[in-house]
């Protein structure tokens, strides 16, 4: 069995700051991490491999330094990692990204076998579009299962997979045929720590690195900025609200007095609300 996991290296958003004057993202020195949602995908892939045998290949398209994220995948126990990196991919939107990743996956399949499953995260924490998974699936003409909360059954012999998919108001139980593309929901599993053996192997391993030509990508007009139909025209900071909050007087007041004053303020500003609350509230 061969499983391919798509991972993206992203800036650790908790540490991103926006320059207060120029409105530019201050990326300098911001550490990068594996997109947290992708870890759920990777763990699920490793679990299936441990149960059914086979190999897990992690792939990413990104700058040369994205090999850090891939090496981390190896320490978790992935069998192989492939980095696609080339200046032609700069400025890719999701359509151009899915184009490059689909061709990368084809090349990986040529070298190490057709994948039975492809995993993606639900979305990234930077671009945050959730569009790349469906994009890859469509380009490879694969079935897609998105927002998967649980893999209920995985039958390699019958080539079938049954999953729980998060939908509005409930869970859809879906069954489909392999190969297919799965995007995993967060919180579905917990990432393993990886063994000492994996760590040693990761330290020794080469990250397989391809440029566009090596991956067989020749139609450069479909890549990067050129291949991206979306255009970012404007980036700006949200306009602040003019006035600050009206403060309820608290000096020398009892808590009850404060609450009365607050309720008075609420009823003044939302006149119809109290009447409706009488209808909806249950507990008095």
């Amino acid at each position: 069995m061969h499983i391919i996991v798509c991972i993206k290296q992203v800036p650790d958003s908790a540490q991103i700051r926006v320059h207060p004057v120029t409105n530019t993202i201050m990326r300098q020195g911001v550490p990068t991490i594996i997109n947290p949602y992708d870890l759920f995908a990777l763990e699920e892939a490793l679990r299936l491999r441990d149960e059914h045998g086979g190999e897990v290949t992690c792939v990413t398209m990104g700058p040369p330094m994205a090999d850090n994220a891939l090496r981390k995948c190896l320490t978790y126990g992935a069998d192989r990692a492939v980095l696609l990196t080339d200046r032609f991919f700069a400025g890719s939107d999701t359509l151009a990204t899915s184009y490059a990743l689909a061709l990368l996956i084809k090349k990986v399949a040529e070298n190490w076998g057709e994948p039975d499953l492809i995993f993606c995260g639900k979305q990234t924490i930077d671009g945050d579009t959730a569009q790349v998974g469906p994009g890859i699936a469509k380009r490879l003409k694969l079935l897609q299962l998105t927002y998967v909360a649980k893999i209920e059954e995985f039958d390699l012999e019958k080539r079938e997979i049954t999953i729980h998919r998060r939908a509005e108001g409930g869970i859809q139980v879906l069954k489909t045929k392999l190969p297919c593309l799965v995007t995993m929901l967060e919180g579905t599993n917990e990432m393993r720590r990886g063994t000492m053996g994996d760590a040693l192997r990761a330290a020794r391993s080469e990250i397989i690195t391809w440029n566009a030509a090596a991956a067989g990508i020749t139609e450069l007009a479909l890549c990067g900025l050129k291949g991206s139909p979306t255009i970012v025209k404007k980036v700006y900071a949200p306009s602040p609200r003019a006035e600050k909050a009206y403060q309820i007087e608290v000096e020398d007041k009892s808590v009850d007095q404060i609450c009365e004053a607050l309720i008075g303020e609420v009823t003044k500003r939302q006149p119809g609300l109290e009447k409706d609350l009488v209808k909806t509230s249950s507990d008095y």
């Binding site: 890719s92 999701t94 569009q131 108001g169 249950s282 008095y284």
Partner: protein
């Protein structure tokens, strides 16, 4: 964007991208009208579809074109949704009824949506940024090889008639406006609850265009084995609640969070919290409010012990009245709350719960006596 170069959202890259000119190829010039894909599931339309209808109406009026609803569903199962499309402002409704469209599945929905677009050629196609909308939009945009802007909070038409779709980036600290200049349709998904549901006009009608499709079930590989509805008891309805009470780290511990729920209970309100509470396990993730949680739009939002970080702010700004309780007079939440109390939330909440309880009890006796 791949990390290779500054992301397009990063101003540094703005130079090349922002200067792109509109050169629409001839075969795309005939694309016209604004479409909203109506999310009909198990007989119910997701409210985001009507929110989109309201926004779509403004775009269509500005472009002087029709606003069209697209309703896919089982045979005989679309009538109410179609009538509601007109009630909420559509001029035209494209209707496709088929057994295979009874419940959402990516394959048949993608086939039908793509077929409709190719045949009737809309210039703008809008979907909700829901699990259904995002699943479908990605497939349709890739099939059509057009641009798709994700999770927008604002839609507008600029001077030359192009769709300007704005979305928060980097956790809401910046906004970016994205265009699809040279491809059609221009596609976008919009976040639930960032726009208001428009006024419903009963009896309003429009033109219905039915489209026949061939979707043999044996050609559809993915099968639906079951639908397991969420237990209604623990399901939060935060996005659509009239009143929401939320707590943050200022509640100090998980036990104190009960004070938030008590007030919510008296008000018949929904309750939620900031993201750290999910990480601490005080609340479940479906109760998280903000950029990476729920967007809310209640008439009254009471926040207790929440600092008001930008990622929280973007999820609550649509509330009509925001009340904030925080011990720190410099907390950023007071920059966007309407009414503030600088006090200890663990003391104010129980008293407020009591005051509301008394007041509502009195009001209810009064209204019963009338």
């Amino acid at each position: 964007m791949n990390d290779k170069a500054p992301a397009p959202a990063a101003p540094a890259a703005g130079g090349t991208r922002a200067s792109a000119k509109k050169e629409l190829p001839d075969h795309l010039k005939s694309y016209k009208h604004v479409w909203v894909l109506v999310e009909l599931e198990r007989g119910v339309v997701h409210p985001v579809s009507w929110e989109l209808m309201g926004e779509g109406r403004k775009l269509a009026d500005q472009l002087k074109v029709d606003l069209c609803g697209v309703v896919l569903g089982p045979p005989g199962g679309t009538e109410k949704a179609v009538a509601d499309c007109f009630g909420y402002g559509a001029d035209v409704c494209y209707v496709v009824e088929h057994e295979a469209l009874s419940e959402y599945r990516n394959e048949p929905y993608t086939v039908v949506a793509t077929e409709l677009v190719n045949k009737f050629q809309p210039e703008i196609l809008l979907l909700g940024a829901t699990n259904l909308g995002r699943d479908l939009a990605g497939s349709v945009a890739t099939t059509l090889l057009t641009g798709l802007t994700a999770d927008c909070t604002e839609l507008a038409v600029d001077a030359d008639g192009s769709l300007a779709a704005t979305r928060p980036t980097f956790g809401g600290s910046l906004l970016c406006t994205i265009y699809t200049l040279n491809y059609r349709p221009q596609m976008a998904t919009m976040r639930p609850r960032v726009a208001a549901v428009p006024v419903y006009v009963p009896g309003r009608t429009g033109k219905i265009i039915r489209h026949e499709v061939s979707l043999p079930e044996e050609d559809i590989i993915t099968k639906i084995l079951a639908f397991l509805p969420d237990a209604t008891s623990n399901k939060s309805n935060l996005s659509y609640a009239d009143v929401v009470v939320a707590g943050g780290l200022g509640m100090q511990n998980g036990d104190n969070f009960q004070l938030v729920r008590n007030l919510a209970s008296v008000l018949g309100a929904e309750w939620g919290g900031s993201r750290p509470l999910v990480q601490k396990g005080w609340i479940t993730s479906d109760r998280q409010i903000g950029q990476t949680g729920k967007t809310i739009r209640p008439r009254l939002y009471i926040s207790a012990g929440i600092s008001g970080a930008i990622q929280h702010r973007v999820g609550v700004e649509g509330a009509d009245l925001i009340v904030a309780i925080n011990t720190d007079k410099n907390a950023p939440i007071f920059d966007f709350a309407h009414v503030g109390i600088i006090a200890d939330a663990t003391k104010v909440l129980p008293a407020l719960t009591e005051s509301f309880r008394r007041r509502l009890a009195a009001a209810s006796t009064l209204s019963a006596a009338e």
